[in-house]
């Protein structure tokens, strides 16, 4: 009967958890995708590039560790939202895009370029790869931000 409204209330009550669950899973997912596709399948990335700086190694280590926990933690948060009937898929997905985009942009600019961790591919002209990488990251962020702002509007309408 009034179940519909009640679920809506739960979603709004847990709107931040929806966003965080998506954001964490987004970071974890993109890091996993990077490891699987670019390291393992294509062998474009190097395990360790001799030009990597010390700070690059530390940054990479922390992001890798965090993304591992974030993947699993994000999914458990997802399960928690479902059992509370509070899952708001649209907001969650906005969080995924934001998390994935932020991590990819950080990886593509600061880690690859500034800290010299490893390059996307070891070819003569790396520019097209870098552009594709970072522009797609920016697109993730923009679309994710739009979705998050839209759902935020829906909260204030309630």
């Amino acid at each position: 009967m009034n179940d519909q409204r009640k679920y809506g209330k739960n979603q709004i009550h847990y709107s931040a958890r929806n966003l965080w669950s998506g954001f964490l899973f987004g970071i974890g997912f993109i890091a996993f995708f990077d490891e699987m596709v670019f390291h393992q399948l294509l062998h474009w990335h190097h395990f360790y590039d001799k030009s990597t700086t010390g700070i690059g190694l530390v940054s990479d280590g922390f992001f890798h560790a965090f993304s591992w926990l974030a993947t699993v933690g994000g999914l458990f948060l997802f399960a928690d939202l479902r059992r509370r009937h509070a899952l708001w898929l649209k907001r969650w997905f906005g969080g995924v895009l934001l998390g994935a985009g932020v991590f990819q942009l950080y990886d593509g600019t600061i880690q690859h370029k500034l800290m010299g961790i490893h390059q996307i591919r070891y070819v003569e002209n790396i520019l097209p790869y870098d552009l594709t990488w970072n522009i797609s990251a920016a697109l993730f962020i923009i679309v994710g931000a739009v979705i998050v702002l839209q759902t935020k509007k829906e909260i204030s309408y309630e």
């Binding site: 190694l57 990479d60 280590g61 591992w68 926990l69």
Partner: protein
């Protein structure tokens, strides 16, 4: 030459013996207590046996033999002794079984000891993080690794440390046995990230900076095994950790 290798293997046998016997005793005592205790879950005994086998796999047999000369084999042993065995053994809830099996007066004394400040200190994730990851950095980035293969005493001590540091770290992150000084999930999550990061960074560092006496090719293969193998075992630890949060955070009121 012959003489040298002879004393080496004799020393190896002594250290294998010293390290193996406690694990065998632990296996026998646990299985005996599990049989003696009423309704002790069977899967816990399976975990315990699995953990002991992981440790033994690192301490005796072909892998342990090879570990003296081969860094990749050493690293496989490190993963088994310092990560897999502690995780399995922690999941077997040995302290719960011990408290159940002991005479009630002894169990009270043990419970009291577990509440002491010393136990609180050595079971804090920050302490266990330093014991575990700090110990590894010390072992692989100083001359300790080379010295370990020369001195039996050092060999035994380092292997004991790797195991106990791994065990203490595991039980400071996931609470299977009763814990009197509980830390919040967030605090433990932060410690876990630092540990994972410290392990990953060390793996990549070793890829480029082999320990004394380790050829570059072995260091590369060994460090990649350390990195990915560590990730695989840590994934199980992370899942157990998050599942504990999921259980603890369950909604208290009944939902429609």
């Amino acid at each position: 030459m012959n003489d040298h290798s002879h004393t080496h293997s004799a020393a190896g046998e002594v250290s294998s013996f010293l390290l193996t016997v406690p694990f065998l005793i632990a296996l026998i005592v646990y299985i005996w207590a599990a049989a003696y205790s009423k309704r002790w879950p069977f899967y816990r005994s399976v975990f315990w046996t699995g953990g002991i086998l992981c440790a033994l796999g690192a301490l005796i047999g072909p892998l342990a033999e090879k570990a003296h000369t081969d860094f990749t084999a050493h690293m496989a042993g490190h993963l088994l002794l310092g990560m897999a065995a502690p995780l399995f053994l922690a999941l077997a809830a040995p302290m719960t079984l011990l408290l159940r099996t002991l005479h009630v007066n002894h169990a009270r004394l043990l419970a009291k000891a577990l509440k002491s400040k010393l136990v609180r200190f050595i079971s804090d994730p920050t302490t266990t993080l330093f014991l575990n990851i700090g110990g590894l950095w010390l072992l692989y980035t100083t001359s300790l690794y080379a010295a370990m293969h020369e001195h039996t005493f050092l060999h035994v001590l380092i292997h004991l440390h790797v195991f106990w540091a791994g065990y203490l770290f595991t039980v400071s992150i996931v609470y299977i046995d009763p814990v009197s000084h509980r830390r919040s999930f967030l605090y433990r999550a932060v410690a876990l990230v630092f540990a994972l990061a410290g392990h990953g960074i060390l793996s990549k560092y070793l890829y480029a900076h082999p320990p004394d006496g380790v050829p570059a090719a072995q260091a590369e293969a060994g460090s990649m095994l350390m990195y990915y193998g560590g990730d695989a075992i840590d994934l199980v630890l992370i899942i157990v950790f998050c599942f504990q949060w999921y259980k603890a955070a369950r909604p208290r009121s009944v939902l429609a």
